[in-house]
Symmetry: C2
Subunit: 194 residues, 2 copies
């Protein structure tokens, strides 16, 4: 019997992260996660396909946010401006309220090689989605691929800095700074060999 549970998704997420941290990802069951959140297994499965999705469920949303931001950027926007728009759009996922979950999530992933692989694949998918969106705007192949990698690097660096326990700055500001650092490196790299 489906019943509406206030904040069920977030309660499940917090329980899961606590249990993953205490007992490891592999040793934690869905039943234990639901139980700790005071919810049922079927409520868990209404929100997540499996326990891995607690950690990576945001991927589809990020793909969508990145793609939409790049596709809807003004026609006059440069490639770098498209990347900045994508990072700005992603900020809805990284609010101050969710800041305390981030270091836990990162620690759980760092402790498990399979989850690390999943994280790398997630980044590859984000890059691929950004490259598609840039191609759709008419970027040539080399630029679409390179810019997508720059976007994902700025995102990854931005996320890591934002997730640091002591950080108090908003995601957009941090990610934009990371993008500027990468742009500075890109201009150095772009200098042709003598």
């Amino acid at each position: 019997m489906a019943r509406w549970e206030p904040n069920a998704r977030e309660r499940l997420e917090r329980s899961a992260l606590t249990l993953f941290t205490e007992h490891g990802f592999d040793a934690t069951t869905v039943a234990e996660i639901a139980d700790r959140a005071g919810l049922t297994k079927s409520t868990f499965f209404r929100h997540f396909a499996d326990k891995r999705e607690v950690l990576f469920g945001g991927q589809d949303m990020l793909v969508q946010l990145f793609s939409d931001a790049i596709r809807t950027a003004p026609p006059s926007a440069t490639t770098a401006e498209c990347l900045a728009a994508a990072l700005e759009a992603a900020a809805v996922a990284f609010t101050p309220e969710r800041h305390d979950l981030a270091p836990q999530r990162r620690a759980v992933i760092a402790a498990n090689s399979e989850l690390q692989e999943r994280e790398l694949l997630k980044r590859a998918r984000l890059a691929s989605a950004m490259a598609d969106a840039l191609r759709a705007r008419g970027a040539d192949e080399a630029t679409a691929r390179l810019a997508a990698e720059v976007g994902v690097l700025a995102f990854g660096t931005g996320y890591a800095r934002w997730a640091a326990p002591e950080n108090r700055l908003p995601f957009t500001e941090i990610a934009r700074a990371a993008l500027h650092e990468l742009q500075a490196s890109a201009s150095t790299l772009g200098v042709p060999e003598s």
Copy 2:
């Protein structure tokens, strides 16, 4: 009883690729691969840990070649010159004799989502090794990461073009052209926003 078999590794590789192409990767067994090559299963396991290694066994060698080339480039070499040296070093793995295996390998990987993930992870490891080698030369974090991605993109594009059945150009020449295209894109991306 270990016995020396001439060209055993290459014979196993060719048998495996033929069987993967005919029956699919998942349906092919090590026994069938060895049998088709006229060798024993134990000979197979002296060359490969499992059938997946037939496709990805070159990864460790590439990591080594890339890292060594970057570490031993002259101190005056620019970051882009280090990448060019890495790509040049990789060319030993992509000789004309091995050219006919490449389209088969690519088709086998393209037909299997798990193998595609493995290929993405391989690229992530190559990037990580290149970034480490660049950091060891004193590159700053943003430049090391960005340049490593550029190196892997040039490698990937170069490999795909080299592996095209109709291609007759050597890997080094193709990869260097791909690197130059990416450098041109990098200088555009590096232009600060107005």
